[in-house]
Symmetry: C2
Subunit: 254 residues, 2 copies
């Protein structure tokens, strides 16, 4: 009886302890999916950022990277690295499912064309030779067709010109590559275009400054969606100790 009373008294504590002990696992990579951890951090086997096991039951945040011939390599690779480490599901799309060349160097085969790309929570555009995409009615129609399934529009560098042509920067506070600030203001007179800011978050539309600023904009988006602790862990994993949380601007729209 005394033993039973003991059990009765301690049961809620044991139960609470079990409930409060979160379980962290490596995101599915095929190599170390059976390992279980009880603290956040990185996988001791493969170095990937651990995720809370509960979060695996929910669909992962998806990110569509729109690429094109002449896209600047670091513009997209920085955010790709950030989102991958945060456990987001990233895929690439181009107008056609045919090889394209980034930075006149890197030949890339996109996962999808705009005709068969699945929806994504985040639709991302990058700079470089963006003019052809910004002037392409089919690309514009594809962007408009995604309106209801897209939570966030994200651009790096002159990728903002694509969002601008699609009408998505109207009445937004935005930025772009340092030498194209005045051009973007002319292209999107209804936007407020700012210089010398690393990224600007309007809620649904986030634009960043040029090239390497995409890393900071992506980390900001991770902090916003998964918490500052996760963004800090991603930055640490990438050895991006130059990450300064809150270095950009968040615009509150009434």
């Amino acid at each position: 009886m005394k033993q039973l009373l003991f059990l009765f008294l301690y049961l809620p504590v044991i139960s609470f302890a079990q409930k409060s002990l979160p379980t962290y696992v490596c995101p599915p990579c095929g190599a170390c999916d059976t390992l279980v951890f009880h603290q956040p951090g990185v996988c001791t086997a493969c170095g990937m950022l651990l995720v809370n096991k509960d979060s695996l039951d929910k669909p992962a945040t998806t990110v569509c990277f729109y690429l094109y011939d002449g896209v600047e390599v670091l513009d997209f690779a920085g955010p790709m690295e950030v989102f991958a480490h945060a456990g987001f599901k990233v895929f690439t799309v181009a107008k056609k499912k045919a090889p394209l060349v980034s930075q006149r160097i890197l030949t890339i085969v996109p996962d999808y064309s705009i005709k068969n790309a699945p929806p994504a929570n985040i639709l991302a555009f990058f700079g470089g030779d963006e003019e052809a995409s910004a002037n392409d009615p089919e690309v514009m129609a594809w962007i408009h067709s995604r309106d209801k399934v897209t939570d966030t529009y994200f651009s790096v560098c002159t990728g903002a010109f694509i969002l601008g042509r699609a009408g998505l920067l109207d009445n937004q506070t935005v930025t772009t590559f340092h030498s194209r600030i005045a051009d973007l203001q002319r292209a999107v007179p209804k936007a407020k275009v700012l210089e010398k800011v690393r990224y600007i978050d309007n809620g649904r539309v986030i634009t960043t400054a040029g090239i390497s600023a995409g890393i900071d904009g992506a980390l900001h988006l991770v902090a916003k969606l998964r918490g500052e602790e996760v963004a800090a862990l991603v930055a640490k994993q990438m050895e991006y100790d130059k990450y300064v949380p809150g270095q950009g601007m968040v615009v509150a729209h009434p």
Copy 2:
């Protein structure tokens, strides 16, 4: 006669003035190759970093990026962006000329296989799932075959394990990804492996810390080969205002 004397007196000055006025042009990109500038900076038409016209007569520094299935995307994309803006000629090589997938996301078609890749001044290796390459006798034989034509070996992150297996890190001071420091020391007992350093330059062998540190290592190499002014211009162009010249370590070998 007076006119002739005038010409004679001023000829050296005119000649000197012509000689001392350097001419800068946009690196050949097909879009704005006819523009000429008289100050260093960026092309007003396409934003590329200008190069001294005299340097175009010399062969450009070439960089071979060795890629493989599972290579970390920012590991190579950061240096690719840096070297491209510095006017280096960059190409990609894999064991076979077949598509490979970086970061389990980005499908890349390499320019060459190790059977037909041209020589390069800089041979560069990157981290990720580098084990297969480090354990591949054909890859090792290819690296050894390039000994006489390679000026600099460059690695980012765990790309150092490939250089280590090739014997290139023996008697060198080196670094790698923060969680693999002890592993690299075990793998290359003849090297001195340091942690918490952004890059280490031994003269012919440069290794960097993880992922984003490749950007800093590449900027260091640009500063070394083309001057700190050019590296600073590249960093400015990339909006990488977080670049700190001399943030790594340069080892003087006797």
